[in-house]
Point group: C3
């Protein structure tokens, strides 16, 4: 090898390649970690209370007592359950100056240990490893190891941040909480509303039991309504934010907390709406194979024959129903497209302009199509007082309130004069009264720029 090649190589890198790493604990996690370290060229030595699992250890590793193992390496992964950490105190002198990596937080070992190996192998190259600690040096060493195992190490600050980090694996869909709660409450409300309006009303006024309609008819009223309302709730905060900026006359003022939190879960709101829309599609498509529907069609045909009447073709009805289905299909198609582009790997491959085009332009088009779909469903029954039962309007009318508000707000925001103002504000312009404190400074800077 010539001298040039020696200069080329980062020698310090080479050394840690051959370094020995110590793992306390021979459980699934310790073994998986050790295997991966060995594959990446590290030496691996296990520290264990006994030797009972030594047969299961990856080939090429060594096993010794905790104290002996600690002497062999500079970086020590503590892969035993936290309630057994006591033994570490007796090793205090052996651990002097070592980098101790506590991996327990990250994986909740012990609770689901049968699958930890699976989880670790699921960690594809490129997975992120969150690291926090007070020694920059120690962090760097762990980062180096993580990178050798093809993980992306992400420094999450000092040891004080560890508490937050430890909670991360215990979180269960934090951003999905609010949307799911809204969905559950809305579904329950709409369900009891249509239950009262249809099943109970029929029972009370006609004494007929049509409770079997709960399974499909009523579900297929609740699902589309929840879907439409949640889709519009997904676009409402953006519109509100626009009006707030107009009112404030500046973009340099924080939004209220509730609006911030709302905006953060827009994606989740949209995906829950899509799930309900998907169920609506399936519930609609099974209609013609339902027993009840076949029965009704059959009874109607027979009644026409017996009364010697003909089924008059109603051209308007043909237009109405076909438009109604067509809007629904196109809306759902676009909705699925929105869902696909919100997959992490797809949205990462879009640039900012493309992402905005899909999620904003196509999103509003979806909302428009779905709202039109609902209006066509109502058709001339809309606002018809006869369709009220016990003063309750049909459920679909309730579902139109939020989408219409969102669409009207958006319509106002895209009128040229309002749009111009919003754009200027978003480019940093501020209404005079708001900037009095630093107006002078701004002017000075503008002069410099001239």
């Amino acid at each position: 090898m010539n001298s040039n090649s020696v200069a080329m190589t980062d020698l310090s890198e080479m050394k840690h390649k051959l370094e020995t790493v110590c793992i306390f604990g021979t459980g699934d996690f310790g073994r998986s970690l050790g295997l991966r370290l060995l594959q990446s060229g590290y030496g691996v030595v296990y520290g264990s209370r006994g030797l009972k699992n030594s047969l299961l250890l990856p080939k090429g590793s060594k096993i010794m007592s905790h104290a002996e193992a600690a002497c062999e390496a500079h970086v020590i992964f503590v892969a035993v359950q936290r309630e057994h950490y006591g033994f570490l105190s007796s090793l205090a002198s052996d651990l002097e100056g070592k980098v101790l990596v506590d991996v327990s937080n990250n994986l909740k070992r012990g609770l689901y240990p049968e699958s930890n190996a699976e989880y670790l192998s699921k960690l594809v190259p490129g997975a992120t490893v969150l690291i926090c600690g007070d020694s920059a040096d120690a962090k760097q060493q762990v980062t180096n190891i993580a990178q050798s195992l093809s993980f992306t190490a992400l420094d999450r600050g000092s040891l004080r941040a560890a508490a937050e980090l430890e909670d991360l694996p215990l979180q269960l869909f934090p951003l999905w909480r609010l949307p799911l709660n809204i969905a559950i409450c809305l579904t329950a409300f709409i369900f009891f509303y249509v239950l009262t309006r249809i099943v109970i009303y029929e029972r009370v006024t006609n004494g007929k039991d049509i409770a079997f309609r709960i399974m499909i008819s009523l579900a297929n009223k609740a699902f589309p309504i929840v879907s439409l309302v949640m889709l519009s709730l997904c676009y409402l905060p953006g519109a509100l934010a626009g009006f707030l900026q107009l009112y404030n006359g500046t973009k340099y003022r924080r939004f209220p907390d509730w609006l911030d939190r709302w905006m953060l879960c827009r994606k989740q709101l949209g995906l829950v709406a899509l799930a309900f829309g998907f169920l609506h599609v399936l519930y609609t498509l099974v209609i013609p194979i339902r027993y009840y529907v076949r029965y009704r069609i059959n009874v109607y045909t027979i009644s026409l024959v017996k009364d010697n009447k003909t089924y008059e073709f109603d051209n308007t009805a043909a237009w109405r129903f076909d438009s109604y289905y067509s809007m629904g299909i196109l809306g759902f198609g676009l909705f699925v497209l929105l869902g696909i582009t919100s997959l992490p790997s797809v949205s990462n491959s879009l640039n900012w302009r493309e992402f905005r085009f899909v999620q904003s332009k196509l999103g509003y088009l979806t909302l428009l199509l779905c709202t039109a779909h609902t209006f066509l469903y109502g058709w001339n029954r809309f606002l018809n007082p006869e369709s009220y039962r016990w003063w309750m309007p049909p459920a679909y009318m309730l579902s139109l309130v939020v989408p219409c508000v969102v669409l009207i707000l958006k319509l106002i925001l895209i009128t040229p004069c309002v749009d111009r103002k919003v754009t200027r504000i978003r480019q940093g312009w501020e209404r005079q009264g708001k900037t009095s404190a630093n107006g002078g400074d701004t002017k000075i800077n503008q002069r410099l720029m001239a």
Copy 2:
């Protein structure tokens, strides 16, 4: 810490960890960037024209005048709008020898600033940061910082490449343009074709208004045709390339530009075809709940009763329709599979052989099934002169031309004798006449290899 561990650590790396980075501009982008830098252990100092937004700045950062801030750091991110860049000229002496990072191109700040923070937080670890510049040293420093923030830095060459880079975020689905234009033109053509053939023809010859059929019947003729044609357009360039290589007798000749461009957007062609196929499926599945269809079935049943006729069961029709639907479902199922494997995260997890197997073998099987589906739709009406109206054949017959051409070309290419030739060419073999210029050299090399 023992001496071994010191050797292990890359000290130069450690230093830049603690380095201070300067950000000019306290807007959304500047604040988000600063927060991320702080989290990664950098010191952050903001340079600002005033102090008005200092309350919004991330905790731990400092704010000072542009000149003072510039002195504190070696790397300076310029996160103000480009039209305000003027102030930089007055700082010329303070900026001497500094690395100035212009991030404006990358995100189009100013246009959509309300969402930049959202965009930056959307940038998951592993996102790619494109860098260009003339100083390898400066680029390396920015690369280091990007990597500390867990982005993948991608060197895109010298400053001359910056113009191209600046256009990247302004691109709106460049590879989708051609497929979408083809889809729109094809849809419009087929739509007007079937409009003429069905609605206008009926109006002219029978005086009946069946315009309501536009919404579903006609849409459901246009969508499957566009889907099938575009699916075959997705496989046509590969077949053409094979024949071109056979004709050229070598693979060492560039394909014509139009073929290159066509081959580059095959994935997009296929996905647009899938979207149209998806709409076709939904339009087909709503058929039985359409008012018009229920009306026709009802009228037919009543007419049978009145005429005292029975509905003779036609075994051939049962076979034909069931096969027709079955081919369609299987074709669509495979098509969805192709779509899923073209998701970035899925296709990245396939090796080359698997990717080829799915996209080529299964792709051709999909095309075969969908073509068979269309042939079964035509059945004995196929090429039947009675189905012509105003000399216009049924639309589905038009849709079969391209798929049949593709399938025939593929059939030729996979016949053993042709396949052998193509494989040899693709392994580097060249027809004699083509290599006369360097035939001697080739022979010499072949002798060496013996």
Copy 3:
């Protein structure tokens, strides 16, 4: 540039940025690799037997003879087909001390060379490059280059591991083999079972030919059965593992090989089940547009009219069918959700607890819903001796065996007393008899921890 910045920069890194890399071979792969290297700032020199393809080479690269090119660089990529490797032996002296990178294994050049460029460009930043070799130094240099091209280099050990590595690109869905074979065998078995029970039975006993039902009716019996059985096969190994751990009284004993292999392909089993479930949904939804179904409904209506009977509404039937469809839709909806979360990019964004919640909790819920769906399909015909034909029970009854076993096993495992035991075992507890060998050691450790 001030001294501070010099210290900050890793100089050895800077040098290799400007280094020249040699590529033997000017084919598609060599050209694509060279372009990418040039873009990343490397010098590129091609070694070629002739100069015939020099016009196609990326701008900025040089071309010379193999020997001359070898002298220009320290790292040499050998991008010619393996059967032409002979020429390397004549260059032995020129290659002394060089790092020779054999990329041939990785991409099977020569077989599909027309698409290699496409494949290389498909390799997004972050793609993994597997490296093995005996010289740590050489490996580090190749790793550096790979990282400069924004690939993640993954060290796969010494040269002995190369054989395994060479097989990687030849693998064709290794983890899908078992699930697909199970699916094919099951489908074939169920298909011939229902063929005998329905078509052949009808032919033999009534002399009627209903073979047309193969296309949809029979397929729609086979697909849901295969889907349900495979979904339950996906959860069976986990339940078995729980019982095995209970029986062993420890988790520190390897599962038998067949169970390990089974557990490794659970995801694939589930996805194949989902694909069959998807086909089942489509086959079910086309039912009402089938010729045969329309015929039967028509005949039934006419017979009612002629016999002057009315279609009595059966409230129980309405409940039964609607519940049946509803369970199916909800089960399928959840199943699709499971499928989406198993996409690499989605499952990577979940933490361990979320992943387990979806794949285990929601997975069992899906299984429960789909099993209920099947029971409701059977309804009172279930275990009815009249539904046996030639002693063969209806096919759906067969399909319920495995799901019921899995659900019963799971039910046992989640009863409080069993669950407590399993949890303790999974946290490392071992039954007394099993730990006699190292019981003393354990006790000592427990004393230390107190």
